[in-house]
């Protein structure tokens, strides 16, 4: 039922809809298991592309094996791209929940749903473990070697278990968050939801545990994400390059991940609103709310990158000059410029304007720009280091740029499509909107008169 406050000056009042719990349930549950023609087309398309990705992988194995590390640079870049974008998205759900903004309610689940992509990325990570060189032979490292215990090198050991913990935590977070909704689906539909709801009856004790659990798991997910990002930064790129000693790099990489997380969420929101039938749930507030941290992370990305650049520029040791050549001004100069434009300059020039932030199309297009920039960024940070075979304190020469071949293109398209495919399929099992969160929001929100205006009154129980 659309409210009657169209004359209110506050945009939040204009978009406010008073819905009953039954209406919220009906909307959220009707789409589970059912699908439209566009959805079916997308699932088939991304499924086929994912299969082509597997073909690309086979081609790569057949042509290069696992001994030629340089040939796998684009594969690794793709794995990290999925990690710092889709797999990072659940951190957004935690952050906005911790900030206790009411506008977040329709956003949380769309972000949390990205946790399922982690399963695919964990599988994609397996070949990477065999590609990371062991720490013996002069390679600088943070770790001790475990070659007597494991088939892959010690850095791979830590990376794998870090990623496993992240995926498990993400799935637990998603499951816990969806538990009350599974119970609603159980009561309406039965079937698999009877098992998934696990006896949820909505007692006070259960709600208390749910809220604490979401906070704890969310915090754990964020910290594990930063840890795994640090491991990627250390073991899969930085320590492969002699002389690359950049203490800020793991933090820079984490910020890249948080920026990618927000961009992925905004893009998913935009698509869900335009094509996914969520027009009545997703309004400008959600895009506006997310565009501010998107601008902040874009600025932080530049700030941290600038900090590295300036320190190296002033240091001017031979090792530093070579690292700058490799990452910025040498063979990957075009890639660096693209990354800089798409991840910083375009977001800054547009998101600085409130009119762009307070729109739906603006943040979505900027999110698309950032995600495209992330592909270039991962190529810059991973493909180059994977071409280096030297060990020691500094590079003696910077290798030429490694360009992608047909197998690489299939792998990139296939892996990203596989992630989208998994997300789409999951969205038909788990409600895309957190029904209980929406109902709670309805309970805590009122529209009332304040002098001559209509205003939104928001309850703050905590």
């Amino acid at each position: 039922m659309r409210n009657q406050h169209q004359n209110g000056t506050n945009h939040q009042v204009r978009h406010y809809q008073a819905l009953s719990p039954a209406q919220i349930n009906r909307f959220g549950l009707v789409e589970l298991g059912s699908s439209g023609p566009l959805y079916r087309f997308c699932v088939r398309l991304f499924g086929i592309l994912a299969l082509l990705g597997i073909v690309g992988f086979m081609m790569r194995v057949a042509s290069s094996g696992f001994s030629d590390r340089a040939a796998w640079g684009y594969y690794v870049a793709t794995v990290v791209f999925i990690f710092v974008t889709f797999q990072a998205a659940p951190t957004v759900a935690f952050a906005i929940r911790a900030a206790k903004g009411h506008w977040r309610r329709p956003v949380s689940r769309i972000a949390e749903l990205f946790a399922v992509v982690g399963v695919l990325n964990l599988i994609l990570l397996l070949p990477v473990l065999f590609l990371i060189p062991p720490i013996t032979g002069g390679r600088k490292t943070f770790w001790f070697e475990l070659h007597w215990l494991l088939p892959f090198s010690a850095p791979g050991f830590f990376l794998f278990f870090g990623m496993l913990a992240l995926v498990v935590c993400g799935l637990c977070l998603l499951y816990l968050s969806a538990l009350p909704d599974f119970a609603a689906a159980r009561d309406a539909k039965g079937g698999i939801y009877t098992g998934l709801a696990r006896g949820w009856v909505g007692s006070q004790r259960q709600w208390k545990m749910l809220k604490s659990g979401l906070n704890l798991l969310g915090a754990f997910y964020l910290m594990t994400f930063v840890l795994v990002t640090t491991l990627f930064a250390w073991d899969v790129s930085e320590t492969l390059v002699p002389g690359w000693k950049d203490a800020i790099y793991p933090a820079f990489h984490s910020i890249t991940g948080l920026q990618g997380a927000i961009a992925s969420t905004i893009l998913a929101l935009g698509i869900a609103r335009k094509f996914g039938g969520l027009k009545n749930h997703l309004h400008m507030e959600q895009f506006w709310g997310l565009s501010k941290p998107l601008l902040a992370t874009s600025l932080l990305w530049f700030y941290m990158g600038w900090s590295t650049f300036l320190t190296y520029w002033y240091g001017r040791t031979l090792a530093e000059q070579h690292v700058l050549q490799l990452l910025m001004f040498g063979p990957y100069f075009t890639v660096f410029v693209m990354s800089f434009l798409l991840k910083f300059l375009i977001p800054l020039l547009f998101l600085i304007w409130n009119r762009v932030r307070m729109s739906i199309m603006g943040p979505v297009l900027i999110a698309l720009s950032i995600l495209t920039g992330d592909i270039f960024e991962m190529v810059r940070l991973y493909v180059g280091p994977f071409t280096i075979t030297e060990v020691g304190h500094e590079m003696t020469h910077v290798p030429a740029a490694h360009l992608p071949d047909f197998a690489d293109i299939l792998i990139i398209a296939g892996a990203i499509s596989g992630a989208i495919f998994i997300y789409l399929v999951s969205s038909k099992i788990i409600p895309r909107i957190s029904l209980w969160d929406m109902k709670e929001g309805m309970l805590l929100t009122r529209v009332q008169s304040f002098h001559r205006a209509e205003v939104l009154v928001i309850g703050k129980p905590e």
């Binding site: 506050n10 939040q12 900030a99 600088k140 943070f142 930063v226 640090t230 320590t239 000693k245 950049d246 203490a247 800020i248 790099y249 793991p250 933090a251 501010k292 600025l299 700030y303 941290m304 900090s307 590295t308 300036l310 320190t311 190296y312 002033y314 240091g315 040791t317 304190h393 309970l443 805590l444 009122r446 009332q448 304040f450 205003v455 939104l456 009154v457 928001i458 309850g459 703050k460 129980p461």
Partner: protein, 455 residues
Amino acid sequence: MQDRKVLTETQINSELLWFVFNKPTRFWVALTISGLLFLSGVTAFAIMVIFGLGVTGLTTIVPWAFMITNFVFWVGISHAGVMISAILRLTQAEWRRPVTRAAEVLTVFALATAAIFPLIHMGRTWRAYWVFPVDFARGIWPSVRSPLIWDPSAIFTYLTGSALFVYVALIPDLAIARDRTTGFSHKFYSALSLGWRGTPAQWRMQVLAGILLSGLILPVFVSVHSIVSWDFGMSLVPNWHATIFAPYFVIGAVHSGVSGVVTVMAGLRIFMKLENYITQDHFDALGRLLTVVATAWLYFFLLEIVYGFLTLETAETAVRELQILHYPYNIMFALIFINSYLIPVPLWLFKRVRRNIWLMFVTTIMVNVGMWLERFIIIVPGLLYRAPLTFVWGDYTPSVIEVTLVVASFGLVSFGFLLFSKVFPIIPIADQKEGQAIQEDIKIGRITVPAVIRE
């Protein structure tokens, strides 16, 4: 917000202006103590001017020590104002209202105090103008490529911006004070309140100015401590030349600054009896914020340490060894971690601790002790590295003069803060009234939930 109070506008006016219009004995006692501390610093400085830098513990090996540490520390504390005020204003955090002014004022006085220390450190302070491009006939041009030249520019930009920030938010309160005074005080407040009448147009301008200043000062806030860090990071001194220094200094500054705000808030609540305004909720919210900030600081702290060992370069590992294993630096190193994270953060995880004013007061002081030592540990051991073919192996022990100057800086900041709170309301009156106006309650079943009207 659970323990919010319903206050009338008259009550807010009278309570928040009480300290401005009355002269309680405790104020004069506090002002005298802080004034004496400050005077001890003036005396120490006078001795240094008469006898030269030889009265300090500085040597040719360690030319930067206590005074530069103190400079970095106060620049760090100054980050509190913007962190609290601008960010919370932009994010419309409702609990910000009583906190902002004190944080902004702390910024101004901390920054002004910080700016004094490089001047004192010069030894021949009267020749400070040599670092500026004045008197072109001398043909002496400071190198614009040096971060030491960027530093004063950044600090004075930040100081100007922060002062403006305080002033713009103060105008409605100055008008309230103007309307309640006579004689010289009336003239003083009239001049400062710039004809404020509280018309809709004036309010619109004031709000707009607040938002614009919040947005504009944020990059300045980040740049100031980054540039301070580049004073060190741009050199090739082992342990100083690290890419992480700029964000590490900034996050450390935020940790230190927000802790400083909590200390000041607790002090104000007790000293000025502001229990109706500075409530346990504010300490709770700041405690949560501090937990996040401290954890981010820890991440950077660990990265900085870990990278010291990454390349196993002799000079770098020697400095780390000095920091971590050798007395007295090892004690300081342990204290940094214990004071700034290990004790306070686990305590802040408990709501009961976050809502205990005395515990918050003590833990935040601990943080700042740790953060002062952190700056010392960064600056001094890097210089103490015994380079090959160096025959003068120096060490550093601070002299009484340096210790007095550091102690006096706390006196100066307190003195300025107290004077400000005697002349101007330290809690924004207009902001507080607005907060009261948008307070609401909503009923859900049989429960009444505190609510706010969305701004």
